[in-house]
Symmetry: C2
Subunit: 225 residues, 2 copies
């Protein structure tokens, strides 16, 4: 059985969608939430959707302790506060996958716009805030939460992955590609998250105009990248 | 026969690739360059590649007068100077398609990074600089110049189009979709070029890593958008 994965903010749409997809792919998932009760409800919902899956619900701090690989799916508005609260619960060697996007919605603006982050990107803010020895990879900004959560939908799109360590990106790629229909594309160093995070508001705009849940595919790559 | 199109900076790789593709699709093309001789050489090369095409070469200013629809393909480093020089030659009603990208290469930095533009994007800088009544659409940032210029390559990717007037975007879409294998996707207002322009450095990084000429496809759209 693969190592468990903890999803911080796993009761939200993206985190929950990822949880059920990973659970269906045989990965044990700890669903974290600020509220332990809500985490357990989400785990129960995930179990109802994927009865053979392994799901547990717990507060974010406990979830952060439970796995070597964490996925951060909190709204950007709460990212900094969440990381401050988690600081004492993270340990060197852990890998954090940041999926958050600095949408202007975080400051009551539009979800088709972003705000400027001092560090350059949400992922770089995470890197600045995690304890020494905790590594960060950025991914999953172009995958629709609704499509992930709809297990009847056949995914067929790419996940753009940024990070400073090749081995970390390979580990995240191996995890995400357990999910049928997702292909990971290495987009370079973590600072490239400045570019990939901008795709979310672009797709949100396309979704509004075309009443769909769009994704991204990089064309021109060899069959197996 | 369709209306002619002028390509400002048409002797560069992107402009030339676009010229031969449009020429092959039956669109008369005026290739503009700072240097009239270089423009004529480019037109001769284009004619050699597409003997039945209609290509002329002229200085940028003359090229700007010759068509109602212009495509701006100059390196970002030269964008502001080019527009200052063209100001007297543009007239209300013309439509400028901006394909330039504020790569950090413009200030001797990396082509996988961008610089911040005061107006928000290269396209918005164009809009600020053109005379009143000249309209601006942003497009073509994700299409490889090399792939465009290689007429044996079958294109199969999307072109992301931003602009404030729906009719302008439809006109640009109708033009670009004359080229086999390109599909245009409306990405919203011109300010969304802040997002689409960021895709060029992302793709350049992917190209370096994967030794390819990558493009973009938006997934999840209905057959005809």
């Amino acid at each position: 059985m693969p190592d468990p994965v903890s999803i911080i903010g796993g009761s939200g749409a993206l985190g929950f969608g990822l949880a059920v997809r990973l659970g269906r792919a045989g990965v044990p998932v700890v669903i974290g939430s600020r509220d332990g009760g809500r985490a357990q409800q989400a785990a129960a919902r995930a179990t109802a959707a994927v009865p053979f899956g392994s799901f547990e619900g717990s507060e974010n701090a406990e979830a952060a302790r439970r796995a070597e690989l964490l996925v951060l799916c909190v709204p950007f508005r709460s990212q900094s506060e969440t990381l401050t609260n988690l600081k004492a619960h993270l340990r060197p060697g852990q890998l954090v996958v940041d999926a958050s996007v600095p949408l202007a919605a975080a400051i009551s603006g539009k979800a088709t716009r972003t705000i400027g982050i001092w560090q350059g990107s949400a992922a770089q803010q995470v890197e600045e805030m995690v304890p020494d020895g905790v590594r960060v990879v950025s991914a999953l900004h172009t995958v629709s939460a609704a499509r992930l959560g709809d297990l009847d939908h056949a995914l067929d799109e790419d996940v753009l992955v940024c990070g400073d360590q090749r081995a970390d990106k390979e580990r995240v790629t191996a995890l995400i590609e357990r999910i049928d229909g997702l292909r990971c594309v290495d987009c370079g160093r973590l600072e490239m998250a400045r570019l990939t995070e901008q795709l979310t508001p672009l797709l949100i705009g396309i979704n509004i105009r075309h009443k769909t849940h769009a994704g991204i595919r990089i064309t021109g790559l060899p069959e197996r990248v």
